[in-house]
């Protein structure tokens, strides 16, 4: 939800989605083709700079949003650095299990490369998510000819999330005002009741939504047109140039 708010209110809101999307894509490619951890880390640093100083996302919020995925990446890469089959130096031994844990140079390098690549890629995607509203991203995907099913699902899911929150919020308020959450037992019961009513409500709403679409000539495809966005030639040139430099860096730097 916080990401969504920033997507609509950041400084780069009016920069065309195509430019931001292309830049993200080029950076993603650069991180994924890199053979050494350095280029992805450069991309990651660049993304932090652009998101915080360029788009003006407050750094505390940025840290909070990026902490969860980065923590996951770090954790999984730690596991990657370890091995149970030998090689490198022995870290510890679990005698009763008959297992030894090793850390090898090769495993460490692999973990470092994975860590930097995933960090670069995650921060690139986060840049896009924080600066570009979903509707513009789906518009871009539609323009690029991605499968209808995907863009239609994105469109509807995104809209329905907010309707779901609205309804769930109303039900919760109604329950709370009648002391539905006064004790933990009552809270469980209320929550179950809410789940039931929201489910039934969703089914009814789906029917109504379908009627709403039919009334405007729905024929099985959600045809829609995004607002025109102006791409500036200079921006595009900048994007392509910087993307190309990053990719060249990835190719050039060997481990």
């Amino acid at each position: 939800m916080r990401i969504d708010n920033f997507a609509y209110s950041n400084r780069w809101r009016n920069v065309s989605a195509a430019e931001k999307g292309l830049f993200t894509l080029l950076c993603l490619i650069a991180t994924l083709i890199a053979q050494s951890p350095l280029p992805p880390l450069v991309v990651a640093l660049l993304m932090v700079m652009l998101t915080v100083f360029g788009a003006g996302i407050p750094w505390r919020e940025y840290l909070r949003i990026s902490a969860a995925p980065l923590f996951f990446i770090l954790w999984s890469c730690l596991i990657l650095a370890l091995s149970f089959s030998g090689g490198g130096f022995k870290l510890c031994e679990m005698q009763n299990l008959g297992l030894s844990v090793f850390c090898s140079r090769k495993g460490g390098d692999l973990a470092l490369l994975t860590l930097s690549r995933s960090t670069g890629a995650t921060l690139s995607l986060l840049f896009l998510a924080l600066t570009t509203p979903i509707t513009e991203i789906t518009g871009l995907l539609r323009y690029l000819g991605s499968p209808r099913l995907l863009t239609e699902l994105l469109t509807i899911t995104y809209r329905q999330i907010f309707i779901f929150f609205e309804i769930a919020g109303q039900v919760r308020a109604a329950q709370e005002s009648r002391l539905g959450y006064a004790s933990s037992g009552r809270a469980m019961r209320s929550l179950a009741g809410m789940a039931g009513s929201v489910l039934l409500g969703s089914l009814d709403r789906a029917r109504q939504n379908h009627q709403g679409l039919l009334a405007r000539g729905y024929d099985g495809d959600l045809h829609q047109l995004s607002p025109r966005c102006k791409s500036s030639f200079i921006n595009l040139a900048r994007v392509i140039l910087s993307g190309a430099v990053l990719m060249a860096l990835s190719v050039a730097i060997k481990p």
């Binding site: 709403r205 709403g212 405007r216």
Partner: protein, 290 residues
Amino acid sequence: MTEAILQLEEASFCYPGNITALDGLSAVFAHNRRSAVLGRNGSGKTTLFSLLNGLQRPRQGRVLFEGEPVRYDRQGLLKLRQAVGMVFQDPNCQLFSASIYEDISFGPLNLGLPEVEVRTRVERALWQMKLEGMEHRPTHSLSFGQKKRACIAGVLAMQPKVLILDEPFAGLDPCMAAEFMVILEELYREGATLIIATHDLDLAYAWADDSVILQDGRLLAQGTAEDVLQLEAVHAELGAEPLIAQFSRLLAESGITGSSGGSPPRSRGDLQKLLQAKKVDVTDVSGRNQ
């Protein structure tokens, strides 16, 4: 009465579980008139509207559009839904996209129009509904009134001949409702046929040309709003009488205004003019400025 644009002939409709919603209903909606459909909750207003838009098919009887029975194949329905636009009571039912621009473009694109034409129509609809500059805001950040206007814009972009609105004023504050009224008047003057469902008797009496009163899925009365809304059977069914009608009747009965030859006042403004013409000393009956 001018020629009928939409007509129901002995139409019946049941919901699953044999719940009768409409029972042999015949009603006529005339071209370029403002009609108000009134009835108590569950009297069949919404079902009537879904028949008019082809969302439901009558079990018995038929629906006629411009004198021809509605065809329920793909082409027939597309033609009907282009000509008869429907605005739902709950905007969340209608707005499927988080971008109102995309949402408004949905209808015209379904008509198979070229992109340039669709964009022109979307922009015009945004302008008509005073939503310019809001097309970049997400739907969930709009107010109820704005969402409602976005719904109407989505229908207007299809350029329908008939606009059906289910409780268009429900949930709107008086200022918003008044603004909305002006928009409806503009559409009416441009030649649209307007059909609204409402519980607001005073509004129906002041605004509508024609009125259809439903009672348990059957027609109770149909005719000009002026006549129908003064019928006692209608007052008994709806549980109220238009305030202005009641007031002017009392004034006439008590001899203050007398029985004037012209049509009875239908709005506060009308009543005030009548009283002034009769030289009754009232500074302001409406309680607010004209």
